[in-house]
């Protein structure tokens, strides 16, 4: 496209006498400025890397902790059991992980080139929409046409019996629901060379479950927050745009929902609607939107008086168009911070529900459920089941909270100066 020496007509007149690097500073997009300010904090960087690590784990965990080998010769046939046994969810995670990293690469590459901001935005938007469309199409295809393969073979048994030749196993030879045989009586085993973090109440490998839990944590953390964001943004947008009766009534409803303690509301919904994974996501989502609604409302109250909204109105644009295409993109900035804190809150909510025994149904691995299995610490304390999952919850939640604080400081120049 353009190269950096091209004289630009859109260059602001004030930048004539500036050095090239200062010129580049002027041309940076809003998010590039925020990103730079954010990336300057060491703690922010560590937290971001940790979050990316958890996300990576979520995507590749079937290849790390699985009881079936990558490749093996069974009865004279070469087979790929692990790849055959990948479920729909595994494939969808792989697909979205690939698309997300592809988009991140585009974002990063185009950010380095010194091109005009508007074409850059349009380019990124096009790429983002194209990739999202591909992702939605392919994941629908996966859901419709891929059947989960039920593998009844026990590869540990086969390997012991010597019927498995040239087998290449994953680093950890246990999945999240693979149990030691019941007659082996290997429940609640302390860490050993076979089970690096010991076994739980069903003789399952604790480390494998620890790794697989990242999946449930991210699924619930992100999807619930997206649900909350959708509800909160639409609700807040309407309240902020129509000042007056709708606003007053709407805010009363927000106050009502906020008056009910969150955990009580969660428990009530779980008692009524059950505890399937999807239900838990929706429940955590529909109970956590009030904060976002407040934020979006406050932003809309400010934005609705700006000239471009008046212009959009006078052009006779339809209301949803004004609200969601012109105002929402500008009013969503502070919500990013709430989103990050919200993910952390959802992770905590999920782990508490699982810990109380009313979270996602077993045998799904979850850090909260693992903590629950550690038993009553007043009597028998199984530290190998209690310590690691708690530490993982703490680190993940801490990482998201640090990211939220860092983003808030980067976005709001006023708080930036207080530290």
């Amino acid at each position: 496209m353009t190269n950096e020496t091209r004289p630009s007509e859109t260059r602001p007149s004030g930048s004539v006498g500036l050095a090239p690097h200062e010129d580049a500073l002027l041309r940076r997009t809003y998010w590039a400025v925020v990103g730079r300010s954010y990336w300057r904090g060491h703690l922010n960087r560590i937290a971001t890397f940790f979050i990316l690590l958890i996300a990576l784990l979520t995507i590749i965990v079937p290849f790390l902790a699985n009881s079936s080998p990558y490749i093996a010769v069974i009865d004279g046939h070469r087979e790929f059991p692990l790849f055959r046994n990948l479920t729909r969810v595994d494939w969808i995670w792989l697909l979205w992980g690939f698309l997300a990293s592809f988009f991140a690469l585009i974002f990063w590459r185009t950010g380095k080139r010194n091109i005009e901001i508007e074409p850059l935005r349009a380019q990124r938007l096009r790429w983002g929409l194209a990739l999202a469309a591909v992702g939605i199409l392919l994941s629908t295809g996966i859901v419709l046409f891929k059947n989960d393969y039920l593998d009844s073979r026990d590869y540990h048994q086969l390997a012991r019996a010597g019927e498995l030749h040239n087998a290449v196993f994953p680093p950890l030879r246990w999945g999240f629901s693979d149990q030691e045989p019941l007659d082996a009586n290997r429940l609640y085993e302390t860490p050993s060379r076979e089970h690096f973090l010991g076994t739980d109440s069903n003789g399952r490998d604790a480390l494998a479950r620890l790794l697989w839990s990242t999946r449930i944590v991210l699924e619930i953390g992100l999807i619930s927050e997206i649900i909350a964001l959708t509800i909160g943004a639409i609700y807040g947008a309407f309240m902020g745009y129509f000042v007056g009766k709708i606003d007053i009534l709407g805010m009363r409803f927000v106050e009502i929902v906020e008056a009910i303690p969150l955990l009580f509301l969660l428990i009530t919904f779980v008692a009524i609607f059950g505890r399937q994974l999807f239900m838990i996501m929706v429940i955590i989502g529909v109970t956590g939107w009030t904060g976002i609604a407040r934020f979006v409302r406050a932003e809309f109250l400010r934005i609705r008086q700006l000239d471009y909204v008046t212009a959009a109105k006078s052009l006779g644009l339809p209301l949803p168009n004004i609200l969601f295409r012109h105002m929402l993109p500008n009013g969503l900035t502070p919500v990013i911070v709430t989103f990050t804190f919200g993910v952390a809150g959802n992770i905590v909510s999920e782990s508490i529900l699982s810990f109380l025994g009313i979270g996602v149904e077993p045998p799904t691995a979850s850090w909260g459920a693992m903590l629950d299995q550690a038993g009553n610490p007043g009597e028998v304390f199984r530290w190998w089941l209690a310590f690691p999952p708690g530490l993982m919850i703490f680190l993940t939640v801490f990482a998201y909270n640090i990211t939220g604080e860092g983003l808030r400081d980067a976005i709001d120049p006023r708080t930036n100066k207080t530290i």
Partner: protein, 327 residues
């Protein structure tokens, strides 16, 4: 002043009605409403039918929907919260037994939270930008991120487990035999049992409160009256402690109402871990058994407590700040 309080209470009525309507609707339109509690396998068919009848009678399912709500509201206002399926006892009585311990736990925790968060925020604002400020905000954020389920387990394992340190009792709110105790030692025993649960409940709340305290201090430090006080030649300690600190306490009053929902939610977990027979423990067992009357009543009581705290906060604020007009 009395008029102000009355007005505040009247303003609360719509919220209260909306809240009861929400909780009523949530339970009324629950799927499998009349089979609630049916998960218990030992229930015979007859017992099942008796439960169904009970629920139908309680919810007046033969009347129009709007009448159902008002009849339910009427019952609730008169203290009839339905009958528990699990315990076969009136819910109101169950809650009455368990409410005091939960309230005490919350009150003790909120006192501890204020006692630590306020000095922390004060020091952080005085040492603004110095190492204490940065360390304090980091530590409180870390504490805020520590999962309560983990901390509870760890505290109990280290300080409660008789095989390890065994300094504190492992559960409950009282020793097993309390007959021999005088009222003094009874209170001491109770407080001894409350140490670990209160630590568990309070550590996560420091971050937000001390942040607000610090911000309020910094806001006040930039005002004119501080410059006047300094110009008079007052020593810095008098300026900060007597002038600025007292003014910065005002926003802290309003935070009390925001603290309570979090504490109530936390006490569910804490009571579960430390096997304290409180309201949270009640609601967890009720949820596993799909005992909807209890779940609904506990949510209702929790929200009413929150609203009452909101009211108290408003009144305290009006008392503390003479600028708040009473009309």
């Amino acid at each position: 002043m009395l008029m102000y309080i009355l007005r505040r209470i009247l303003l609360m009525v719509p919220t209260l009605i909306g809240m009861t309507l929400l909780l009523f609707c949530v339970v009324r339109f629950a799927p499998g409403l009349t089979t609630a509690g049916g998960a218990m396998a030992e229930n015979s068919r007859q017992a099942q039918q008796a439960i169904e009848e009970k629920i139908k009678k309680r919810l007046h399912l033969d009347r129009p929907l709007i009448v159902q709500y008002f009849l339910w509201l009427n019952d609730t206002v008169h203290g009839n919260l339905g009958e528990s399926i699990q315990y076969n006892a009136p819910v109101a009585q169950l809650i009455k037994e368990r409410l005091p311990i939960t309230l005490t736990l919350n009150l003790l925790s909120s006192i501890i939270v204020y006692l630590i968060a306020i000095p922390g925020g004060l020091l952080a604002s005085i040492r603004r930008g110095k190492s204490f400020d940065i360390a304090w905000s980091f530590v409180t954020l870390a504490l805020f991120s520590l999962p309560i389920i983990w901390v509870g387990d760890m505290l109990l394992a280290v300080f409660g487990n008789p095989n390890f340190l065994g300094w504190f009792p492992v559960g409950g709110a009282h020793a097993t035999s309390t007959e021999w105790m005088t009222s003094g030692s009874y209170a001491g025993d109770f407080l001894w049992h409350m140490v670990l649960p209160v630590i568990c409940l309070s550590y996560g709340q420091f971050a937000y409160l001390s942040k607000i305290q610090r911000a309020a201090m910094l806001d006040n430090l930039g005002l004119d009256y501080v410059r006047t006080a300094r110009a008079k030649g007052l020593p810095p300690s008098v300026v900060t402690l007597r002038h600025v600190f007292r003014n910065s306490l005002l926003p802290m009053i309003t935070l009390f109402a925001g603290l309570i929902p979090g504490l109530l939610g936390g006490s569910v977990v804490v009571e579960h871990i430390f096997s304290i027979k409180g309201m949270g423990d009640l609601v967890v067992t009720a949820t596993s058994a799909r005992d909807l009357p209890i779940v609904q009543a506990v949510a209702l009581i929790g929200s009413i407590i929150t609203l009452i705290c909101l009211l108290i906060t408003d009144i305290c604020y009006a008392l503390a700040d003479p600028r708040v007009s009473y009309d």
